[in-house]
Amino acid sequence: MAVETAPAATTTGPKLRRIHVTVNGTAHDVDVEPRTLLVHFIRENLGMTGTHIGCDTTSCGACTVLLDGRAVKSCTLFAVQVDQSSISTVEGLEKDGKLHPLQEGFHQEHGLQCGFCTPGMMMTAVGFLATNRSPTELQIREAISGNLCRCTGYVNIVKSIDYAARKLREPIEGKA
């Protein structure tokens, strides 16, 4: 992707900075203002609106994405900070028309009502299940304690994540 930078000497606009970031496996080179938040970069510069803005105050977790595999709140990070990094968003979960086990879990267990918190919940769970393959219910509840569901549908969200954990263990356990 070619992006032209306006010559600094002839403009009074904000100073831009070129970042190179891989989002869901696709590399992007984009010029951004340093103050651009990661969530705005994802939604507005890349046009990927699966990542939601809820509270915008580091409380609700609707904007959660993975930064080099770790779940973080993208409203509390500048896009310039993720230069040379790898980001995963909810759009990257589905592969070749096949739902990710977490998406399947949220479908099977009715893990969403209004759906606003769902992308954040799922990305938090992806990061969490990568570090804990066999979580207890309590551990799942702790893991999503930075994500708010204002429908208060937590019971089914926990079930959905547990479904995905079991599904993700299946292939290996099947061989054993």
Partner: protein, 290 residues
């Protein structure tokens, strides 16, 4: 919410970070985990002219036991929480890291930022007071080690000079028969403490308290060291009477204000109760329990 514009600099190493800070004339802020700084910038409560991003500096994070415990300032809360050395030998730090904000914030937030931000509501300051820690600062004039008692000057104000950066936290090796605990009361997960108490005790061979140190969170302009409470415990058996006296002394040391987290009297009473519970847990750990 969009922060005001700023110049963004990526520091390559500590010397570069110091140079960037020194050349900013005091107008730059260090960007570590950013989990306090960025929200403040979004609310425009702070509008630094420039940010010095230290996240790319190698060697600023990590946990080493080298006679003493050395924690790199850029160590993330999530890594502290999971670290086996910390879990086994410094469980008071695990207690503390595990109640900082929420798991997503802890994936970014750093222990150095938690201390250098000097918010009296932050959790590590009280724990570091109880642990008798010191912090290592590097600046244009070289390196200095600042005892934690001299570090917090006021709300959001530390002994760090504008061209200094906090690089490491040093914690003395735990003495035999010592233990500690951090207990926090919060309205909901992720909130700042209504009040919280950090307690460390060292027992003598007869099981009496040889020394205690106690830090209080969010009941004053800075984290508070409850020295009188520490004194009341010296030489005492850790029985209900001694704990009650320490709880009362800690409550007297607290200087809470009434706010959305509760009236001042209530918070003082929370300090009284949490102090007793934290000492009890610290004593149990000093005896090898959990």
């Amino acid at each position: 919410m969009i922060p005001a514009s700023f110049e963004y600099h990526v520091a390559k190493d500590i010397a570069h970070a110091i140079q960037l800070l020194a050349s900013s004339g005091g107008e730059a802020k260090v960007l570590a985990g950013g989990q306090s700084l960025i929200p403040l910038m979004k609310f425009r409560l702070t509008q630094p002219a420039s940010l010095v991003d230290i996240n790319r500096i190698t060697g600023l994070s990590g946990i080493r036991e080298n006679g003493e415990l050395q924690i790199g300032a850029l160590t993330r809360e999530a890594d502290l929480e999971k670290n086996p050395i910390i879990r086994q030998r410094y469980p008071i730090i695990t207690d503390t890291a595990a109640v900082v904000a929420d798991p997503l914030v802890r994936n970014m937030a750093t222990i150095g930022g938690n201390l250098a931000h000097a918010d009296p509501a932050n959790d590590h300051p009280a724990t570091m007071l109880a642990l008798r820690a010191s912090v290592v600062a590097q600046g244009s004039k070289g390196e200095r080690v600042i005892p934690i008692d001299d570090f917090f000057l006021d709300t959001f104000t530390t002994a760090l000079r504008p061209d200094e950066i906090l690089v490491e936290i040093r914690i003395p090796k735990p003495a035999p028969r010592s233990g500690g605990a951090y207990l926090k009361l919060e309205r909901k997960v992720g909130d700042f403490a209504i009040a919280a108490v950090a307690a460390m005790v060292r027992l003598d061979e007869s099981g009496k308290i040889a020394a205690a140190s106690i830090g209080l969170t969010n009941v004053g302009l800075t984290a508070i060291r409850a020295r009188n409470a520490e004194e009341t415990l010296r030489g005492q058996a850790p029985d209900d009477k001694a704990l009650a006296a320490a709880g009362a002394a800690a409550a007297a040391a607290a200087q809470p204000v009434s706010d959305l987290r509760g009236p001042a009297d209530y918070k003082r009473d929370v300090v009284r109760v949490l102090t007793q519970r934290a000492i009890r847990k610290a004593v149990a750990r000093a005896k090898g329990g959990n």
